[in-house]
């Protein structure tokens, strides 16, 4: 009697399995059809709100909390960059515009800087943001000599002025897979990706992402009470020592996309 019951149970299970299989063939839809392609889904994307990726890094391992990562921002010839300076008595509240912006940024904070003197769009100002999401580990006495180099080109600005948004992910090349070519400001060509790809995921394949730059056409609000929101709470930053001297020395080496 027990063997008959077991056989009946197995038959029922087989019929149910066949029914499910037939149902799946008839409907033609699989649950995986509604999932994103690829073997994995990243937790963090470059399209996440500013600060999400960097804040997630702070919960990871390593001495990243409280570290001021040196960053240098350059652009086409003539373009000037400046940072908000809350203690500055000038009416603009910004630092002196420089062709090479050098500062130490906290990891996880979002810094909005000003871009002026854009070629072909004089009088227009852009306010991109830079978010440092990881740090580098140079020797102690060379931390400012090897900052994270962020090179913005004219196409970025023109695209932003058309109302679109440009996202740049700066990554540290994997030494095992790096292109064996000397990188300098003129040969450091950005990698263009399609709209369907996540730049953070692509950068993660090529190396270790360290910074995200987002360029749009947002302008400062007219209400002063909204400025802290616009500048993401004025996070602290550290200037380079002897920044003025280095700026003068580096102005001749600033890459020019227009040349």
């Amino acid at each position: 009697m027990s063997e008959i019951t077991t056989l009946q149970t197995r038959l029922a299970a087989g019929l149910i399995a066949l029914a499910f299989l037939f149902e799946g063939r008839v409907s033609g839809s699989e649950p995986a059809d509604f999932l994103p392609r690829g073997s994995s889904r990243p937790l963090l994307r470059a399209s996440d709100p500013p600060g999400v990726v960097g804040q997630a890094r702070l919960t990871g391992r390593g001495p990243v909390v409280g570290y001021y990562q040196p960053v240098a921002i350059t652009g086409p010839k003539g373009v000037r960059f400046s940072l908000p300076h809350a203690g500055n008595p000038s009416p603009s509240g910004m630092t002196v515009p420089a062709q090479r912006l050098e500062a130490g940024f906290l990891i996880g904070s979002v810094y909005r800087f000003q871009v002026t003197h854009i070629p072909g769009a004089l009088g227009v100002e852009l306010f991109p943001t830079v978010e440092v999401i990881d740090r580098t580990y140079p020797p102690q006495h060379l931390v400012t000599r090897y900052p994270i180099e962020i090179q913005l080109d004219d196409e970025d600005f023109q695209t932003a002025l058309r109302g679109q948004m440009v996202t740049r992910v700066i990554y540290l090349e994997d030494p095992q897979t790096a292109i064996p070519e000397l990188q300098n400001p003129k040969t450091n060509v950005p990698l263009e990706i399609s709209e369907f790809q996540d730049p953070l995921a692509v950068a993660d394949e090529y190396g270790r992402p360290v910074a995200i730059v987002r360029i749009g056409s947002l302008t400062p609000p007219s209400q002063p009470s909204l400025l802290p929101e616009f500048y993401f709470g004025y996070p602290q930053w550290a200037p380079f020592p002897h920044a003025s001297a280095s700026q003068n020395a580096d102005q001749d080496e600033v890459p020019s996309e227009l040349e």
Partner: protein, 384 residues
């Protein structure tokens, strides 16, 4: 016999050398160690007088460069200014907001709306909350920040080629969400009106424009950025709001008709503003938006505050931490009655120790000179 004597003398000599007929060295622990009771325990040890401890590196740095103002004391931060290092100077004055987004951002989250086309068109909004259009006119192209999650009624005047025409569209702005937060933090929401829109409205039609941020699968290379769906360009029966919600995340909904809301008898409720401007100068919403959102999403701080539950949305969170899907059809009881979550994590936690025995041995050990147990005093007087 001579060999035996020789061997015995050698053994005796080596024994004497091994047992300590050498200069005695009194080995004391370092002074810093003697200042503490034991490993991991601070304070002076028993019977030890306080001594002068060596100054720490931070004290030396402060003494060497008193003008420097290090803002952190961790090892990851360089406290001194030298060539090749970052001088950590706090550039914020004491009254300035800190780097904490929660402390710095007290204003409501806003998004920027840019009125682009047609050029020269004037836009007014309610700036005081009294229901009128008492703001300074914005002349397109112009920009203005609006609080998120509000329904705003604006007044369009001076429309080119349409003298005397005044329209009162409503602009419903959605909250920022993790999908749109990065875009809204860097770009404005463009509000444009075309000649076709005005023609449709002036002929009695109702125009609904939905501005949305397409998902990557609906975003072609030629459509990088945002897209707009207009009700008059869709097939009959297609709701532009539903279609835009299917394609991406809605940023704004513009509804344009020919109703003159300032006409006497148009209805007092049409002009009565339900909300006041959160900050003087900001537009006052006509009504809250019908979209759900989380206030400071654009700053990136994951908000742990409970969100207001929208009609038809689940009140309980799913195991992945986001609100569950709406129950369709809306208004019906929740379809999900129960969900079981099993924890298969291998847990092997040792029991806490009830007794710990610590054997401590310092190498080399301590050796003090033998204390005096016998005193001999010899007094001699040469000249009594």
């Amino acid at each position: 016999m001579k060999r035996i004597v020789t061997h015995l003398s050698l053994v005796a000599t080596s024994a004497i050398l091994a047992t300590g007929c050498v200069p005695v060295r009194h080995n004391l622990p370092p002074e810093q160690r003697m200042m503490e009771v034991g490993p991991g325990v601070g304070g002076p040890g028993p019977g030890v007088l306080g001594g002068m401890s060596a100054p720490s590196a931070a004290d030396l740095a402060a003494a060497a460069a008193p003008e420097a103002m290090p803002i952190a004391q961790s090892d990851t931060v360089q406290g001194s200014v030298s060539d090749g290092e970052i001088g950590l100077v706090n550039y914020m004055h004491p009254g300035a907001p800190s780097d904490s987004p929660a402390a710095a951002i007290a204003a409501p989250p806003t998004l920027q709306v840019s009125f682009r086309n047609p050029d020269g068109m004037q836009v007014r909004y309610d700036a005081t909350g009294n229901g009128g259009f008492d703001s300074e006119p914005l002349i397109a192209p112009a920009r203005q920040n609006f609080p998120q999650g509000g329904l705003y009624r604006v007044k369009l005047t001076n429309i080119p080629n349409r003298e005397g025409v005044e329209l009162y569209p409503t602009v419903e702005l959605a909250y920022a969400n993790p999908r749109t937060g990065a875009y809204l933090a860097h770009n404005s929401v463009p509000v444009e009106f075309t000649e076709e829109d005005f023609d449709q409205v002036l002929t009695g039609n109702f125009v609904t424009k939905v501005i949305y941020l397409p998902d990557p699968e609906f975003q072609g290379p030629a459509l990088a950025g945002i897209d707009t769906l207009v009700s008059t360009r869709l097939d009959p029966g297609v709701d532009p709001i539903v279609e835009a919600d299917r394609r991406g995340s809605i940023l704004a909904i513009i509804r344009l008709g020919d109703k003159d809301v300032e006409m006497s008898g148009a209805g007092a409720d049409s002009l009565a503003s339900m909300m006041t401007a959160p900050i003087p100068g900001l537009p006052a919403p006509y009504a809250p938006a019908m979209t759900d959102g989380c206030g400071h999403c654009q700053t990136g701080a994951p908000s742990g505050a409970p969100m207001a539950t929208q009609y038809g949305m689940t009140m309980s969170a799913t195991p992945i931490g986001i609100p569950g899907p709406p129950h369709l059809p809306l208004g019906q009881p929740a379809g999900l009655q129960k969900h079981v979550m099993r924890n298969h994590t291998a847990v092997k936690m040792p029991r806490p120790s009830e007794k710990i025995r610590i054997d401590v041995r310092n190498q080399p050990g301590y050796r003090y000179p033998a204390t005096a147990d016998r005193i001999r005093i010899t007094s001699q007087n040469l000249n009594p």
